[in-house]
């Protein structure tokens, strides 16, 4: 499968990883020799016989007739990205880029969180909201920080996400932030009836917001409460909107679709750390390439004692918890 990415947002992607990239040129809608599914739909919907006319192409980009993003050709993808960038730039009154950086070869992302250090300050929660353009109202949080009682250990039945404290950590408590565990064996992907969510080669599980029908099967299937539904039209203040977006990540969503943590796909595929890693004041959050023996994450796996949540479900998370002390 050819993957495309758009020009302005490919910084950090090694040259050559981005073949077939449309670059910063205007989108090209080349006529295809065989009618595609999309064109068939166009015709079926009563479009003019010339299914590649601009009107119909517009419909297919952000509209109802579009195919699933990962099945599209490179120039169709580029066209959609350009259209989305234009749409969001107008809506938020600033230049917004919508990228689709492909996975880096030889990379499989892993995350580790030091629960002996986390103090439950929730900096990660709000950094994530700002980076990933989550809805402020209704509030959507991709990270849930659970306060647990030290004498009960990791016991969800006694966990509390709504702790209200003057200062943290509170005596007698420890904290367990939970977000998408990017499972190697993801039950959410399995359950989706339309294949709107899938695992990328670098391990990130993504959602095509334009393909999701909003049935919420994945939310029932997820053992970590990591998937969130837009119960109303997401509200993002224009001045707080992060304009650097990825199609499969932090681009603004619409109501009625499911979203989730992507390890900040728009950052990590450009070599940056996820926002939650950078913001953590105690350095409890670690991130890197599982296939790189010199990475921080491999150091943790090899030198620390790690565990994953709900091992018995065989989801095999790429998100590890460890005791740093």
């Amino acid at each position: 499968m050819t993957r495309s990415c758009n020009g302005p947002t490919t910084a950090g992607v090694p040259a050559g990883a981005c073949t077939g990239c449309a670059g910063s040129q205007p989108p090209v809608h080349a006529a295809q020799p065989l009618p595609s599914r999309r064109e068939f739909l166009c015709v079926a919907a009563g479009c003019a016989a010339a299914a590649t006319t601009a009107g119909c192409t517009d419909l297919t980009h952000t509209g109802w007739f579009r195919e699933r993003f990962r099945d599209l050709g490179a120039d169709e993808k580029a066209g959609i990205l350009a259209d989305l960038a234009k749409e969001h730039s107008e809506r938020f009154h600033k230049p917004v880029t919508v990228g689709a950086e492909p996975p880096l070869p030889g990379v499989e992302f892993g995350y580790a969180l030091d629960i002996s250090r986390c103090i439950g300050c929730r900096r990660c929660v709000y950094a994530c909201v700002e980076e990933n353009n989550q809805s402020r109202d209704p509030q959507v949080h991709w990270i849930r920080v659970l306060e647990m009682e030290k004498d009960k250990g990791i016991d969800f039945a006694h966990a509390n996400a709504y702790y209200d404290a003057e200062k943290v950590p509170r005596p007698g408590h420890f904290y367990l932030p939970v977000q998408c565990q990017q499972c190697q064996n993801p039950p959410c992907v399995k359950s989706c009836p339309v294949g709107a969510t899938w695992q990328e080669p670098d391990g990130i599980i993504v959602v095509d917001y334009d393909w999701c029908i909003g049935c919420r099967c994945c939310m029932s299937a997820c053992p970590y409460g990591a998937r969130h539904f837009n119960f109303a039209e997401p509200e993002i203040p224009a001045e707080q909107m992060n304009p650097k977006t990825h199609y499969l990540g932090n681009r603004p969503r619409m109501k009625g679709v499911v979203e989730k943590c992507t390890f900040c796909i728009q950052r990590v595929r450009n070599g940056r750390y996820p926002a939650c890693v950078e913001v953590c004041p105690v350095g409890a959050r670690k991130f890197g390439n599982l296939r790189d023996p010199n990475s921080e994450i491999r150091y943790i796996l090899e030198h620390k004692r790690v565990f994953v949540l709900k091992t018995e479900l065989n989801t095999r998370p790429r998100f590890f918890y460890f005791y740093g002390v």
């Binding site: 099945d71 016991d155 969800f156 399995k190 099967c217 539904f229 109303a232 109501k255």
Partner: protein, 415 residues
């Protein structure tokens, strides 16, 4: 060509039948239309503002709509399963039982489809489910399988019932070689729709309350109670208001079978309660939420006990020959069964399965006004579909609406 002309006559005649009726008929149809309109208003609000108008949230992401869907899959399945005793016990009006059962199945599946439609965030994208145009994620997604079996079942029942009624209308004996295999096939298909629906929940290890292998058998057992309960009431109504003949013994036999099914249902419930309570693991929490509540969170507890009470009393009423043969206690039993299973499937399956959520949070769900009105609208659509179909089917079965009657001559409609 004759067939097509006959079919047009059949369709026009059917239209005539459903547009004529007595005051009671029109009051009933009018009530349903009003409820449908109210449901439509509620749904348009939901479409505009989003599912925030429901009381579903991330913590309880499936609820009343999907509970109703599950219950109605059971009704659809069990209605057809009545064919088995009809064959086994050689009831006289076997065709009629088959037809009524399949009509109920059709109406139920229509409601199932509508409940899924109102539950999704993007109903306009449902074409993504159509293989070829969209992408149906088989074999891995059980919801995808459910889409296949439910649509297949709808088509199957529609074909059977249309064929039977049209044959009767034309005064021909339905070709057994054609419809019997279909009827027989509809039996495993009925089991399949409810099993796949059970597997939809069952296949989610994230939700220990559902991840019990007893779930599919329980679904079938409870469906065997709720589906026939509707038909029993319907058969009595038809017997009363039309020349439709149905032997008391057939009704008693169905009631007796329902008693056994309810016994199995209660037994399986008891087996689940035992396993959870005796082993007393962290998974007990869902059962606790259901029957005693957790702390101040006990919104569904009274409904769950009401469900058990209804089911148990109905079981006794149908078990004792004297009470299942008494019209009043029989019908009380039917209503109790319906209520018992409705509460069990509609609220007692989905909501405790998701409460507390996977990270232990308790969000106490109770349907919102919008959800209740939308559901009322959908049930009204189902009842209306069923009413209209029965209105057409009854005179055909009684031989009052047939091809040999002169066109223009008003069909002698019962009522």
């Amino acid at each position: 060509m004759g067939t097509i002309r006959h079919f047009i006559h059949f369709a026009l005649g059917s239209l005539r039948i459903v547009t004529r009726g007595n005051l009671l008929y029109w009051l009933w149809v009018g009530l349903l239309l009003v409820l449908i309109a109210a449901g439509g208003v509620a749904y348009s609000r939901q479409l505009g503002e989003g599912l925030i108008t429901t009381n579903m949230r991330d913590q309880v992401s499936w609820a009343f709509y999907i509970g109703n869907f599950t219950f109605l899959v059971g009704v659809a399945a069990a209605a057809v399963l009545l064919v088995i005793p009809a064959y086994v016990y050689h009831w006289k009006p076997i065709k009629e039982v088959v037809i009524l059962g399949e009509l109920l199945a059709i109406a139920s599946i229509v409601m199932c489809g509508l409940f899924v439609l109102v539950d999704v965030g993007h109903p306009e994208r449902l074409w993504h489910l159509i293989p070829g145009l969209g992408l149906l994620n088989v074999p891995s997604s059980l919801l995808a399988w459910d889409v296949i079996v439910l649509n297949g079942y709808l088509v199957l029942n529609f074909v059977i019932v249309t064929y039977l009624l049209f044959s009767l209308y034309r005064g021909r004996t339905p070709a057994k070689a054609f419809f019997l295999p279909l009827v027989l096939f509809s039996i495993p298909a009925a089991i399949a729709i409810h099993t796949v629906t059970a597997f939809l929940y069952n296949g989610m290890p994230a939700r220990p309350f559902w991840n019990a292998s007893i779930l599919a058998p329980r679904f079938l057992a409870s469906a065997f109670c709720s589906g026939p309960a509707v038909l029993l009431i319907l058969m009595q109504l038809l017997r009363r208001f039309t020349r439709f003949e149905i032997d008391d013994r057939a009704i008693w036999k169905v009631a007796e079978l329902m008693a056994y099914a309810m016994f199995v249902n209660l037994f399986l419930l008891g087996a689940e309660v035992f396993k959870d309570v005796y082993s007393n693991t962290e998974h007990l929490i869902h059962m606790r939420y259901m029957f005693v509540g957790i702390g101040e969170h006990k919104a569904i507890v009274p409904y769950m006990w009401l469900s058990v009470f209804c089911s148990f009393v109905a079981f006794l009423l149908f078990l004792v020959p004297a009470t299942r043969r008494n019209t009043i206690t029989l019908n009380v039993g039917c209503v109790l069964i319906w209520l018992g299973v409705y509460l069990e499937k509609g609220m007692g399956l989905v909501i405790p399965g998701l409460t507390p959520d996977t990270l232990g949070e308790i969000y106490e769900y109770f349907p919102s006004q919008v959800e209740l009105w939308v559901a009322a609208g959908i049930f009204s659509v189902g009842f209306l579909v069923f009413t209209l179909m029965v209105k057409v089917a009854t005179p055909i079965m009684l031989g009052e609406f047939a091809l040999d009657r002169r066109p223009g001559q008003p069909a002698p409609v019962a009522h």
